[in-house]
């Protein structure tokens, strides 16, 4: 065992107080330092944190950004999401591969650069994009890639690459990213100017129960997709038994096609921190955690500095704003590349330093969440709305939006359209109006809510975005007249197969079976009974899966079967001579014919 490894790992573990619950931070630091978490390192971490080698391995092996095998000092992760493929990521991939002289999944022979694919990194409005270590490289072309690789080979640090110019806070020296915000529609709630600090001030003038009542009266519902009433969740958490309570902000937007939280974290962090503080006051929590997806690591330094500013201004810490006894701290927990961690109980597992397996429910997090304490998990946008409700009042919030869906919804719009970006609409906007705004009047299909949502066709474009009709976490992907919709469906199924945590049978195995059958059909080997097979298998997976991932993963198939069935039917071959279409008689006879040096008498063609 090398002494330097031992010393460094002890240091890393100590900086997290040798706390096993901070395993994520520890293994992330080790990965960053050594390019892997080796078996030897696992032993050292296990020893320092009083856990077991296999427990460390279980965490490391779960997350895409961590690995037991050595990776290059620089890791290039090209996003191959469906939108990136629409925008030419294959060309970029080819260029990367040939410039580096390695295939995807490999490391250059000098061991310096690793090339990988990664699913959606939250940059669909500036696709194709890649992550170079933590640095975002948007709007890539084959030409740009050549330049980037040339510089990386010369030893240029990824943060010093010239990748273009960002806007807003992306130009801040602590971010310095080429990312653009692309906020193309400013609504009344989130992106409108706000009176910073007023929401918290108003909250602290009320009793905690009154704050919860305000949220209830405003009828705020969760913006993450499930739409659970926020006030009720807070009430459950407040009234649950437990000495310590927690507020967790879910900033793990991983749904392909969504990127609004990226912009909120960049520009509206104050609205978010203030809302979390209000939540802490309302439910009686003294700790808040923001779980930020690993893909947004480029924002970490900036967010930390903004948190520090709030501590300096007594907006965080002890006796906040002079309110005696109200203490609230916020820490940031970085993820490491796992879609499932957007599921609230998996997110809690991850915060606890475990693999991101969803937890058994009941008990729900409001009763027994982070470290077995009552916990309220809320989406970024939800928490930002809270601040505004406390600032401007419940009635104001109720007056925006549609029946039973108060307030605004921020949509991440990408794919086939002239103006991809972030749009904040009052609830009740129709898909037709939305398509006009973004420049996609001739769209063939719209994927509402990302692949876990639904594909809808032209005859449904008059439907509206709200909790009673098209509910969505905010991902809107538009498909043009010429796109191959079923290919996209296949790509999304690949995504779910990759991202299933594997805990339960139907999601782990069922999605693979769905994808295999779909592939057969796409290859022209399908028969009409296969559509019933897809339907019944898909429904079965939804019914029996343990968490939201498996309960929605068959949606790309099921909603296209419902709304675009002719696309499937067009692929069906007429059956010949009572044979199954999957059976290839020529291939079956091939070897025998070769041996006999003559064609079959019965099957000549």
């Amino acid at each position: 065992m090398s002494d330097s490894l031992q010393k460094k790992i002890q240091e890393i573990c100590q900086s997290s107080n040798n706390d096993r619950a901070r395993m994520m931070d520890i293994v992330q630091s080790v990965q960053k330092e050594f390019g892997c978490v080796s078996s030897e390192a696992m032993n050292l971490i296990a020893k320092a944190t009083k856990s077991h080698h296999v427990e460390v391995e279980s965490v490391v092996s779960f997350y895409s950004f961590l690995s037991k095998e050595q990776k290059g000092k620089t890791v290039i992760r090209l996003c191959n999401d469906t939108v990136d493929r629409m925008k030419g990521c294959q060309e970029v991939a080819k260029a990367l591969s040939s410039e580096l002289g390695v295939k995807f999944g490999e490391t250059t022979s000098d061991g310096k650069i690793t090339l990988e694919y990664t699913p959606c990194i939250g940059m669909c409005d500036q696709a194709p994009a890649a992550l170079i270590n933590d640095v975002v490289a948007p709007n890539l072309t084959a030409e740009k890639v050549k330049e980037i690789v040339k510089n990386l080979k010369k030893g240029v640090d990824p943060s010093k690459l010239s990748l273009g110019k960002g806007d807003g806070n992306n130009t801040d020296s602590l971010i310095g990213a080429a990312v653009r915000n692309n906020v193309l529609k400013v609504g009344d709630v989130i992106f409108a100017d706000n009176d910073s600090g007023k929401g918290l001030e108003n909250a602290l003038a009320l009793k905690p129960e009154e704050v919860i009542d305000m949220i209830k009266v405003a009828k705020l519902r969760g913006r993450g997709g499930a739409g659970f009433p926020t006030g009720l969740k807070w009430q459950f958490t407040r009234s649950a038994r437990g000495e310590q309570k927690f507020v967790i902000c879910n900033a793990d937007e991983g749904e392909p096609g969504t990127f609004k939280d990226r912009v909120l974290l960049t520009e509206k962090f104050d609205l978010l921190f203030e809302g979390m503080t209000i939540a802490g006051y309302a439910i009686g929590a003294s700790t808040g955690i923001i779980y930020v997806r690993g893909e947004y690591a480029y924002l970490l330094k900036f967010l930390k500095s903004k948190l520090k500013e709030r501590y300096d201004q007594r907006l965080l810490g002890k006796n906040i704003k002079g309110k005696s006894g109200f203490n609230f701290d916020i820490r940031i927990q970085m993820g490491s590349g796992a879609y499932i961690c957007g599921e609230e109980s998996a997110l809690i597992s991850s915060c606890e330093g475990l693999r991101g397996d969803p937890k058994t429910r009941p008990p729900f997090p409001a009763q027994r969440g982070y470290l077995a304490s009552p916990t309220s998990v809320n989406n970024v946008e939800t928490i930002c709305s809270v601040t505004r409700i406390l600032e401007k009042g419940s009635d104001w919030f109720l007056s925006i939006g549609s029946t039973n869906s108060s307030g605004t919804k921020i949509l991440s719009i990408s794919g086939y359209c002239k103006r991809p970006g972030v749009y904040e609409y009052p609830f009740g906007i129709s898909i037709t109006d939305l398509l006009n705004d973004v420049g996609a009047e001739d769209a063939k299909a719209v994927l509402v809510g990302g692949p876990s949502g639904q594909f809808i066709g032209k005859n449904e474009f008059s439907r509206i975005i709200c909790y009673n009709d098209l509910g969505t976490g905010g991902s809107i992907v538009i498909f043009g007249p010429k796109c191959d919709l079923l290919k996209a469906v296949d790509e999304y199924m690949e995504f779910f197969v990759e991202e299933s945590c594997g805990y339960c049978t139907p999601c782990r195995a069922g999605n693979i079976l769905l994808k295999k059958k779909l592939e057969e059909i796409l290859e022209g080997n399908g028969e009409s009974a296969d559509l019933d097979y897809l339907q019944s298998l898909g429904e079965g997976i939804k019914k029996t899966s343990r968490c939201g991932l498996g309960q929605t993963s068959p949606n790309p198939i099921l909603t296209t079967l419902k709304n675009f069935k002719p696309l499937y039917e067009a692929l069906m071959k007429p059956q010949e001579k009572g044979m199954q279409p999957t059976f290839d008689i020529r291939a079956a006879l091939g070897d025998a014919e070769k041996a006999q040096m003559r064609k079959s008498v019965l099957y000549k063609n």
């Binding site: 077991h52 279980s58 092996s61 779960f62 009941p362 339960c504």
Partner: protein
């Protein structure tokens, strides 16, 4: 735990449950069998196989994890649920490599027994032919991951009963597997033949060496009576 009694209905029949019991526990005591694989009495319910999926007031839940609540209406033995269970068991068969007739666990295997009970003769899904490894390094215990159904019984038993954490899951999705607490193999761990974890595997994935055919095929547990019979004989 409170001894308060709650009444739930399973397939229209009222049964009594103690407050705090799960549907599975209440059903077992009342002599109603709900098919299951990952559940084992006295271990923390894992809720991963999903075979015990029932319909509770119209919603799909696993009986092993769902608490019994007064007035609950539970559907168990319906055509729909049995179909879903058959599909899940089918998935487990094609996801691993199971050759019942040659496996030394045959006749004592819960997966095989549930398949027979639910009337599965041949899988309806295509085989996935996974590449899985075996581990024979331990003097007394053999791991064949081709059989593993990821039920988590060994993980829970070793951690919670034996206090050893010999096993834990690694990887995710179809790459998920049971790993051992060592750089490489089971032989390097402190696993003992007397551990609870050596006893709980429902299939032929963790087996004790040298006792495989001590009881001949035909005279084994499920050769005599179908799985679940001992529970049903209580009613």
């Amino acid at each position: 735990m409170s001894e308060k009694t709650v009444i739930i209905k399973i397939d229209g029949i009222e049964i009594k449950a103690k407050a705090g019991q799960t549907i599975m526990q209440a059903a077992d005591e009342a002599g109603v069998y709900i098919p299951r694989l990952c559940y084992l009495k006295d271990l923390t319910p894992h809720g991963s196989c999903r075979v015990c999926t029932v319909k509770v007031n119209g919603r799909y839940q696993t009986a092993c994890t769902e608490p019994a609540v007064d007035g609950m209406e539970v559907e168990n033995k319906t055509q729909e649920l049995e179909g879903l269970r058959r599909d899940i068991i089918d998935m487990l068969f094609v996801e691993g490599n199971h050759f019942c007739m040659f496996c030394e666990k045959s006749g004592n295997c819960d997966l095989q027994a549930e398949a027979y009970r639910l009337g599965i003769c041949a899988p309806k899904f295509p085989y996935l032919f996974p590449d899985r490894d075996i581990d024979g390094t331990h003097p007394d215990i053999f791991i064949d991951r081709n059989r593993c159904i990821l039920c988590g019984r060994c993980v829970n038993a070793s951690r919670d009963v034996d206090g050893k954490t010999v096993f834990e899951f690694v990887g995710r999705g179809s790459e998920k597997k049971v790993a051992v607490n060592a750089d490489a193999k089971l032989g390097d761990t402190n696993m003992a033949l007397t551990d609870k974890a050596a006893d709980v595997c429902p299939v032929g994935a963790i087996i004790k060496k040298r006792i495989g055919f001590a009881i001949p095929v035909g005279k084994r547990t499920y050769d005599q009576k179908p799985i679940g019979s001992e529970i049903e004989s209580k009613s």
